[in-house]
């Protein structure tokens, strides 16, 4: 038997769910969990709501995406081939830019000269610039090596763009980790001192 209080809680839950749903639905950009929490203080309830929303929308034309603890509705990629709507026409990225982005994604945080070492060629002007302008990368902490070079890392917009919830979902990341290819201390032509550690 449902008590009156249960009923009130239930009604309350539905209204809260609607509020959370509307908040996320209304925004083009992912809404941080912290912002949702300011509406529904009880994180148990909030998590329940988010779970329910994810479920409700899983088979729809619009799905709930989780992007590094932020939430956004995105059209289902299942029907992408039918949706040739106003695509953002952008110049395809150069190979240098796509490879640089991948290096930043898989090796982050990574300095410019580390990127150059991995590619074996110096980075042309504007490569970092293009990625920064797209909003896909952002500065990370400076390294404690001489000169304190700036590092680069990927942003939430990067995850959003490629439909990833977190960096662990990067394709092949585990294979790369296990193969040791993400180790930092092997360099042939070093312009940074090789660290023996």
């Amino acid at each position: 038997m449902k008590t009156d209080q249960d009923k009130i809680n239930e009604i309350d839950f539905h209204i809260k769910q609607k509020i959370i749903e509307a908040l996320i639905f209304a925004s083009a950009e992912p809404v941080p969990y912290s912002e949702l929490k300011s509406r529904v203080k009880d994180t148990n309830v909030l998590d329940q709501i988010l779970k329910a929303l994810e479920n409700d929308y899983s088979a729809r034309g619009v799905n709930l995406h989780v992007i590094n603890n932020s939430y956004a509705f995105r059209t289902s990629s299942e029907i992408s081939e039918y949706l040739n709507i106003e695509k953002e026409v952008s110049k395809p990225l150069s190979r240098a830019a796509t490879e640089t982005l991948s290096i930043i994604a898989y090796h982050q945080p990574v300095t410019r000269s580390e990127i150059e070492n991995i590619r074996g060629v110096s980075l042309s002007r504007g490569t970092i610039d293009v990625l920064l302008e797209l909003g896909w990368i952002q500065p990370g902490p400076r390294k404690s090596t001489p000169g304190n070079p700036l590092t680069w890392k990927t942003s939430d917009a990067f995850l959003d763009h490629f439909g990833l919830s977190e960096l662990d979902e990067l394709p092949g990341i585990n294979d790369l980790k296990n193969s040791g290819l993400l180790d930092r201390n092997k360099i042939i032509f070093n312009d940074e001192p090789i660290k023996n550690d």
């Binding site: 990629s77 240098a96 991948s102 590619r119 074996g120 439909g163």
Partner: protein, 249 residues
């Protein structure tokens, strides 16, 4: 055999255009000559690279420094590999170097592979879409300004480059200020009760049209100023006729 193969393949079209640096070139050579990276036949690969580089150099094609550095390094490695092994130290050293090269090639190959996979994924704005008509909740003011880090940095970059770059030199021109024209007119008009054309007061050593316009304009304004001060009379019979001045005192 290798030479025969290489003639049939596209990558040896004698250009470095398609390559993203020497390691990328090495990877292409390895793929092209089916040189197995797991049992990296470093000598074979080094020879392929040096041969390719030779051809490029003989054609006088522009080469980025990185390709030459790698060439020198591979030549060094090749000579070490061909020398009889004198002691164990040398062997270890060579093995280390080969291993490092192998590591770098595998690492770049892995990145190239994941890069392709990454960009084969469905992408926002291409394959799936965000809300087309967002409604924004009035949470607080700061959400209404969307300045990106890129905008901020770019703005600062512009300021810095400008202040570096923009040293404006103003060409040395001879223009006439109204102040000077007033002083000059007062001097020339002193005691002259007869009507004299404004044009007669313009300096006669004018060299350019710009100077002429400037002198005329400043002297005309100066004459009005003198009339206003009560120091001069001014008259013009009809529009576009000559303007005449005379002294009041």
């Amino acid at each position: 055999m290798d030479n025969l193969q290489s003639q049939n393949t596209q990558i040896l079209s004698l250009s470095l255009d398609g390559f993203e640096g020497p390691i990328d070139l090495l990877l292409s050579l390895a793929r092209d000559h089916k040189i197995d990276l797991t049992k990296l036949s470093i000598l074979k690969l080094a020879e392929q690279y040096l041969e390719f580089l030779d051809k490029i150099i003989s054609k006088d094609i522009d080469i980025a420094a990185e390709y030459l550095v790698m060439g020198a390094w591979l030549a060094f490695l090749k000579s070490k590999l061909l020398l009889p092994i004198e002691n164990d130290d040398n062997l270890e050293n060579i093995e280390d170097l080969s291993e490092l090269l192998e590591f770098q090639m595998r690492r770049l190959e892995a990145i190239q592979n994941v890069s392709k996979t990454l960009f084969k994924r469905h992408q926002l704005g291409v394959h799936f879409f965000k809300r087309g008509n967002p409604e924004i909740f009035n949470v607080s003011n700061k959400f209404q300004y969307n300045l990106s880090l890129y905008d901020l940095i770019k703005t600062y970059g512009n300021i810095i480059t400008k202040s570096d770059n923009e040293k404006i030199t103003i060409a040395n021109t001879r223009l006439f200020s109204v102040e000077n024209a007033i002083i000059r007119l007062k001097e020339l008009l002193k005691g002259s009760k007869d009507w004299k054309s404004l044009l007669d007061f313009i300096p006669n050593d004018i060299k350019s049209e710009l100077e002429n316009k400037s002198a005329l304009a400043s002297h005309f304004v100066a004459s009005l100023e003198l009339v206003k001060e009560g120091n001069a009379n001014i008259k013009q019979d009809n529009i576009e006729d000559e303007i005449f001045l005379s002294s009041k005192s």
